[in-house]
Symmetry: C2
Subunit: 232 residues, 2 copies
DNA sequence: TCACTGTCAAGAGCGGTGCTCTCGTTTATC
DNA sequence: GATAAACGAGAGCACCGCTCTTGACAGTGA
């Protein structure tokens, strides 16, 4: 009874997996706007209406792809960090930066889905919040561990963030306990700059301007490491 | 004969203006993907096919909106810079940053069209290159003038960019003549960080994380000013 | 004055989209 | 074995970008 129920549900889960796989492939070739439930159904040899048994709307399919994407980039970042010596914080920072860029270049449309323009009419449900912060936890951990080991030596430069920012600083600080507020603000700069560079490269802002993107990325991420005060 | 021809061309230009105006309004409510020539035609009391007399394809209409958008943000940045005392370089930098953010918040869909995910299947023609760099010229001028006045004191931090980046540095340096390569690289960081922050705010990455966006933006742009070495 | 030329709005039509509804069938449970 | 849920299939609605053809009209040169 339990086995038979699982039998039906297993084929259902398998179909859902197949749908998301095909959808992800379509996303890679057509982009988010070109993602078509009919096309996915066609490729599965299904009639278009049948697919609504598994995803009640196009947005629900998009949500699945978004959660999947956040997990993919999060996993890439985690692996890159894990492959580095624990005490080499600069190397760990550079590794996770590279992991983000490499993943983005390998999955440009998925990256655009996660970090590009919001899909019009689509409202991200709460399920996406958790996976969305999976990568940021890693950045925070690197900074926090460097701070704990006394290896965080940020050059004096930025003023203390104003008091009105305290709750936000506090919220970000939960990912890097103990780190001074000034450095937390720098972490936000580094975070936005990392994705700013990747987005500019992917979205065409570097066209006709920057040619050696990998090298510039590497150099700028190294500068950001100095800004954060990472050493060694 | 010339007058009559201009009469005809004048009504044509007026119609093109009306089309782009309506299209821009539709862009604001529906997003780039939802921009529909039929809907624009409907609102003009025109039949759908007639609009193809003025814009041969949806992409051509998009191109017009993109060029228009780049010019709008460029103009906003120019005006913000012009309103500052020439010798107050930090203030000028903060003013142009604010101008970008304010324009983006006021025209989120247009911003997404310019700096967000590329529209699938759309290839930006060469006409967009010029207007696209209108704002960057202003950033470059502020840094260049600060350098010329001896008011650029970048804190020692970033290493000299590697030799392989020389052509790119040189290309960016045309917008800020005389500025050292190290600072040119920092300018790229500041540039990407500025748009990275605006994009994160607009595209929802700050949701559930940062609440006081204006204040954080202000503080981080001030940090970037220090990174650039702007003083006074 | 008149025929010519180029521009235009209009309509029909093609193949595509997301989504809904109904219908008969299969499948699992009581 | 009856019942209820899940399912695939098909038709249909309103929309989309885009194309082709047709007839009306304005400006132009002979």
């Amino acid at each position: 009874m339990n086995a038979s129920r699982t039998a039906r549900e297993r084929v259902r889960a398998e179909l859902i997996r197949e749908i998301t796989d095909i959808a992800r492939r379509h996303l890679a070739t057509e982009g988010a706007a070109g993602l078509s439930l009919r096309a996915v159904a066609r490729e599965m040899g299904m009639v278009s209406s049948a697919i609504y048994r598994y995803f009640p709307s196009r947005d629900d399919l998009l949500t699945a792809l978004i959660i999947n994407g956040y997990n993919a980039v999060g996993e890439a970042v985690e692996k890159a960090d894990a492959a580095c010596p624990r005490e080499d914080f600069t190397r760990r920072w550079l590794a996770v930066c590279r992991a983000v860029r490499d993943w983005a270049l390998a999955h440009p449309h998925e990256y655009a889905l996660l970090y590009g323009s919001p899909v019009p009419g689509y409202r991200a449900p709460a399920d996406t919040i958790g996976p969305a912060s999976r990568d940021t936890i890693v950045y925070g951990r690197i900074i926090a561990e460097a701070h704990r080991e006394g290896r965080l030596a940020p050059p004096p430069m930025c003023p203390e963030p104003p008091a009105v920012l305290s709750p936000d600083i506090e919220a970000v600080r939960t990912m890097m306990p103990g780190v001074p507020g000034d450095v937390v603000a720098r972490a936000v700069i580094a975070w936005t700059s990392l994705f700013g560079m990747v987005s500019f490269e992917l979205f065409g802002q570097f066209n006709n301007v920057i040619e050696h993107r990998a090298e510039l990325f590497e150099h700028n991420m190294a500068c950001l490491a100095r800004l954060l005060g990472l050493s060694g």
